[in-house]
Structures are given as C-alpha cells and as structure tokens.
Point group: C2
Chain length 428, copies 2
C-alpha cells in the first residue's frame, strides 16, 4: 500500500467512503471504551490480592527495630520498607524517605516547599519574580499541572530517542538562574516509553546549574515496569552519577508501588542526598507525625524483598504485554505504509505515544470519541495542554480487556485515517 | 496539711530533706518512664485488631458505588467513609473530604495552600507583609509549629474554663485584617481538657472578621474521646452555627481516627462549607490522584457505622479512665492542700494540664527527668515554646501502664514539691 500523500484526490475520496462506512458500523454499536489513563486493570490488581492476607489480628505488627507499626512515629518509614524501596530505585537505604500512597503528592509537596521555604537555604520561590521549569515534551500531564498550579513558567524541551535534547537542557540550566527544575520520567517515559541513554544521564550529572536551587525531578515511575524478560532497557542510576560528578545534591528521585501493588494503596518514596533529606525532614516533621507504617509493613511482608517484587512484575508484564502488542500490531498493520503517523515500540511503562500528521491530534481524539473511545485529551502531553503541532496522542492500553483493545485500536486507526484524509483533501 | 507558702523556713527545709530522701530512693531505681506524648497504649491498639481481618484476598473490595478501591481515583473519599467520618464530626456527608492518615497533615497543607494560593480567591499570604494567627494558650505544640514554620506571627489568647477569652478573640478578629486564623481544639482541649461552652461557640459563629480570608481552624481531635459514659461534655456543631449566623465559610474542621483505630494508620478528614471544599479540591486534584481507599474501606467494614465507633470508644475509655484517675488522685492527695499548683479534671481527651507556681515548670520537668520520667517539655504548650509564666506542664497519661503511672505520678509530685520549696526558700 502506498502513502496517503501519494493518493490522488479521487483515491482519497474513495478510501474515505470505505472507511466512513466501517466507522459508522462501529459507531452504531454504541461502545464505551477508555484508553485515556495509565490505570492498571483488575486482572493486574488481582495478582497482588495476597497482600490483603499478610497482616491479620494475630500478626506481629512490629517492624524489625521493634517499633509497633500501629502507633505514631518513625518519620522516615520502617527500615525494611526503606530497604525494599531503596532496592527498587537502586539507592542506599539511608538515602530514602517513605511517604504515603502517592509519589505525585511528594512531587507536589516538594515544589510547594520550594515555593514557601526554598531549597536547602535558597530564597523561597514565591519571593522571586520568575521561576522556570524545563519540560521534556511530550511528557506527563500531572507534572505540568503542578508547575502550572504554582505559576512556574514552563519551557518545552523536545524529546529525542535518547531522552531530552541535552544541548538545550545544558544551555538553559547552565546559563539561566531562573531555571529551577526539570521534570524527567527517565525510564519508559510517559508517554513515549523512551529510556534516557547513558550519555544523556551523564550529561545530566555533569550540569553546572546557574541556580544553586536547581534540581532534577527524576520521576522513576517505571523503574521495574518492563514488558519483556529478554528485552529490557537499562537506566544509569542518577544519584550516584551526580555524586561522582561532584553534584550530589542536584537530584530528587521519586518512586512508588502504585503500579506494583495497588494504585490507591501503594507506598511512595523520595530518594536524595543526605543534605537534601535533612532539609526535607525539617519540613516533614512539622507536616506529619509519620506515614502509614502498617501499609509499609504489609508491602514488605508480601513482597519480602526486591526479588519478590521483580517476580511479581513479571506476572504484571504477562498481562500488559499482549495489550501493548495488540495495539502496536494494529498500528503496524494499518498505518505503517500510509505514513500518516509515527510511534515507538516501548519495552516497558504504561503508554504508547502516537504522533499524527501536524494539526490532526485534536480531530483524531474527537473522532474516536464519536465512536465511543475515550483517549487522553490531545495536547495533554504538553505544558498548558498546548501541543504546538497538534500532533501527539497518548495511548494507554493497560485498562481495557484485550477484546476491548482490539476494537479500540480499530476505532483509533480509523479515526487517524479519516482525519488524515480530510487534511490531505483540504490541502489538495 | 497547710499550704507551703505558710511554712516557716525551718519547716520547708525539714520537708525538703524528707522529700529528697524519697526522691533519691526512686532515682536509684533507674527508671525510664514517659508521660510526654498523647500516644495510645498497646492495650488500646489491641482493641482494634479485628480491623486487620476485615479485608482479605476473598473480600469484595468495591465501595458502595461500585468503584474498585484498589485502583486510582475518588478524590473525596469513598461515600461510606465520608458518611462515617461525617457522623463522627457531626456534619452532612457532602461537606467532608477524606484524606490520608493524618489530620495534622491536612492542617499543614491548609496553611501551606493559603501561603501560596490564598483562601477562596484572597491574596496568597506569602505576598503579605504580615499574617497573624491567634493561639489559645496553653495549646497544642504541633499547631504552633505549623504557623511558626510558615513565619506566621502568633498571638497568645488565654484560655478560660469556657474556652478562649472571647473578648480578646473578637477584638483581634473583628478589627485586625492581618489576623487570618485561630487554632482551636474545642472539645477536651489539648492540654486542659476544656470543652468550649455554648456561648463561646456562638460568639465564634458571630465573629465579623476584618479579613475575608480569616478561618477558624477547628481541630475536633477528641470529639468522641470521652472518659465517662455518664459525664460527657457536649460541643455545639460549629459549621451549622456559623451557617445560621451568615458565616458559612468561616470554619475548617479537622478530625481523624488516629486515636480511634491506629495512630499511624487511621483516616483523617476535613469538613467545611461547599464553597471552601470547592476551592480545596482545585488544589487537591493537582496534589494527588486520591488517598488510600482500601484503608477507608477497612475502617468502614470494621466499625460499620458511628454506633460501632462509639461502642469502640467506650472500650478505649475503660482503658484510659483508670490512668487519668490514677494521676488525678495522686495530684489531689499530694498537692491540693499545699497550693503549689492547679489542674482540671478532664472528662475526655488525652491530657491533664498542670499549672505550677510561676517560674517552676522548667525546673519541675528537669527534676522529673533526673528520676527517669520524661514529661512534655515545659513551654511546649505555648507558641515559640515560651510560656511567659514558666508554669504550664502537660501530663499525658495514656501510654504508660497503670503500674508505671503510679510511680510516674509519684515522681511528678515529688518534683513539684521540691521545686516549689526551693522557690519559697529562695524568696524567704
């Protein structure tokens, strides 16, 4: 099959008629499908149900240091939970603090604290005329929502297959003292599934920030969320790399078990240098007496150690992999020859990123919705919800069943084709 | 027995010698006792162990609206948890938001949000030259720590047996637009165990704040924490009272199950007017995808309803009551005639407040420590840790065993007596 751009006007119109008929048939089925959010399916959650049994009324509810997990205290989290999440995110156990159920909440609090109290002694950002964050795009909408909420100016940094455009990152960070942070999902990135290359991580570690309070917000959300056993991306550990380069305090690293155990009831953590953590604790000890230690204990008793967690993630991969492949196969089969969109094949994470012809993303998402398929809003992967090319669409294949996904993918490619044809017809 | 102030110098010295001997005997026992924090004892926590069994791998983990509690979402909390905590704090279920495990954390976030985003459209406090909070004293050290951390100026408001001195509260709130809040523990107050009178609550509701963003921070921490079945304080419900007075938006009400189920793993909530909650949600939806719904479900499945919770609190009262009485009886027996201190007999809550002779609190706490008894630091019940009279000491009888309490109370009264005698001897 040749590319649409090589179709004649008549060929396009003929193709359109065929596709519209198909589309209307599906539309008539009155479907309700959702590929909008990176939400685990019930089948994935069922895999962790054993976690509901590890603590009972006859259990010893003391942690390994003998503290009663039911009572107040232990600000940093119980040691065995620190060890588990430290292993998960590849840092020493004394460089991690365990929080509540949400790493997003930790990131929000980290920005909020910087607004009111600065970073390790710097001027509180609310006292500054301008604060900027670099935002690799496409990226995670909830990151951008935090910085927008606090009135922080966001600067788009294009993603490359190796991670953010580091020439641009270096230019901004090393020269502009109003640049205080960069949002990163360094492994199986949201939405592209890109893992930062070794060289990218090393260039991050070698930054010479103009601002003393510049930090890399390293959201390692998908560190152990592989899709394949034999094909796994590897990410260099950023804290150690920064330490080696004489920049020990330049990173806040975030992780959680939201997509390991239960999204609503996981355990989240932040890893950073001892100096950063000391500053964080000053804030934290005013904010709370401690997080939920029973839930920390529940996670440790269930997974036992990182090996147990990795084994568990293989079961999750077995559920997710066919879903990713179902969507990718439809994209390959239906769209690769037509040259009306591009995408990557992620080896982990929760998303597939689709780049439509410029100016088509909003129309495609709207079209899909007509047939009952909800996608992430076009533009969501960019700061302020504004994709300058109106091109990127995030596909989240985790929640629907494989049967639903087959239809959803069909609706999606039909929508892409129809909108692309309309674009060409308007141009001809 | 006559009062110490009527003792002659010789009588004081003789008494001192006798007491010092007793004190040294106890000191030689090398004890480690702690009456410093309002921490439930293991026996109280054991009462709720059934909560560890209500959810298992075979449980239906959907809430009453059919949402899977394991997954993301439901920002306000599951409806049945809203109902339970609404009943606990006597508000309609649609006027409450369920959070994580800590009401302190909600209060901190509420102040933090006001700093960066104001209150329902007002100027963010970080943009103002001065922000003041009224602090009824003695009060809760962790409240004062929050306002101090954010650089908010604190104004002492003396407590009376009916609650804060309302003449002073009205004078400040109604005339000073820099006064943005007041910290209240309105029932079984920390540390005095005072419940605000009907007239006090009504005067709160009738305030005419000079600042549009003034709010009452109503920390109803001990709403159902009675010590007696037949002698219970009653507190008028402040949200309804404010609504009746045309001040519906003037209150943030906080509560939690920390001292109902487990202090580390309870459920906390905030109640407020619909307009306040709408503003809060704008913040919250950026901060988190949702709190721990499984723990909410666990609480509802265990307590079932407010009746179950009240029944549970009676069991807790049976554990706490003898402890309070043990301490109070020693105070009565050993100190009432000597007139070297005063205290109230609380009917609920977690503390007994002791007012020593002026200038003696720090010395008493230090003396007690010599014999192995840790008390709350003197001054802690005042903003900035500064008790202007150096008189107030908070006694927390919940954590030690009854046997330990008997010795602890003995050490405490010996310390009070010795320090008081020294004061008189220095004055004579």
């Amino acid at each position: 099959m040749k590319a649409y751009r090589d179709f004649s006007r008549e060929e396009l119109q003929k193709e359109k008629a065929v596709l519209e008929k198909k589309f209307d048939e599906i539309k008539a089925q009155n479907l309700h499908l959702d590929m909008s959010r990176g939400k685990p399916s019930a089948v994935q959650l069922d895999l962790a149900m054993g976690m509901m049994d590890v603590l009972s009324s006859t259990s010893n509810l003391k942690c390994e240091t003998g503290v009663d997990c039911r009572n107040y205290g232990v600000l940093d989290g119980i040691p065995e939970a620190q060890q588990l999440l430290a292993d998960m995110t590849e840092v020493p156990a004394n460089q991690i603090i365990i929080y509540g159920n949400s790493s997003l909440n930790i990131m929000f609090d980290t920005v909020s604290r910087s607004m009111t109290h600065g970073v390790m002694g710097s001027t509180p950002w609310c006292k500054l005329d301008q604060v900027k964050f670099l935002c690799p795009v496409p990226g995670y909408d909830r990151h951008f929502a935090i910085t927008e909420y606090f009135g922080i100016d966001m600067v788009n940094i294009p993603m490359t297959p190796d991670g953010p455009d580091m020439d641009l990152v270096e230019e901004y960070v090393n020269n502009d003292p109003t640049v205080k942070g960069i949002w990163c999902v360094p492994k199986y990135s949201n939405p592209q599934g890109i893992t930062y290359s070794d060289e990218t991580v090393r260039r991050f570690a070698r930054l010479k920030p103009a601002a003393e309070d510049f930090r890399i917000y390293w959201d390692n959300a998908y560190g152990i969320h592989h899709l394949y056993d034999d094909k796994q991306d590897h990410l260099i550990e950023i804290l150690m790399e920064c330490k080696k380069e004489g920049n020990p305090d330049m990173v806040f690293k975030f992780c959680s078990t939201s997509k390991v155990s239960f999204p609503g009831s996981g355990v989240a953590a932040m890893a950073a240098s001892p100096a950063n953590l000391e500053f964080v604790r000053k804030h934290m000890k005013i904010q709370t007496i401690g997080h939920d230690k029973l839930n920390q204990l529940r996670h440790v008793r269930y997974f036992k150690d990182i090996h147990g967690m990795v084994a568990h993630m293989k079961k999750q991969a077995d559920v997710l992999r066919p879903k990713f492949e179902a969507v990718l196969n439809v994209l390959d089969k239906e769209l690769s020859d037509l040259q009306i969109g591009s995408w990557l094949r992620p080896r982990g994470g929760y998303f597939i990123s689709f780049d439509a012809l410029p100016g088509c993303a909003k129309a495609i998402v709207a079209k899909a919705k007509e047939a009952g398929l909800v996608m992430t809003e076009a533009g969501a992967t960019y700061p302020y919800g504004k994709d300058p090319n109106d091109s990127n669409i995030r596909i989240a294949p985790s929640y629907p069943t494989p049967e639903e996904l087959a239809i959803a993918a069909e609706i999606f490619v039909l929508s892409v084709k129809l909108v692309s044809i309309d674009k060409y017809l308007a141009e001809v």
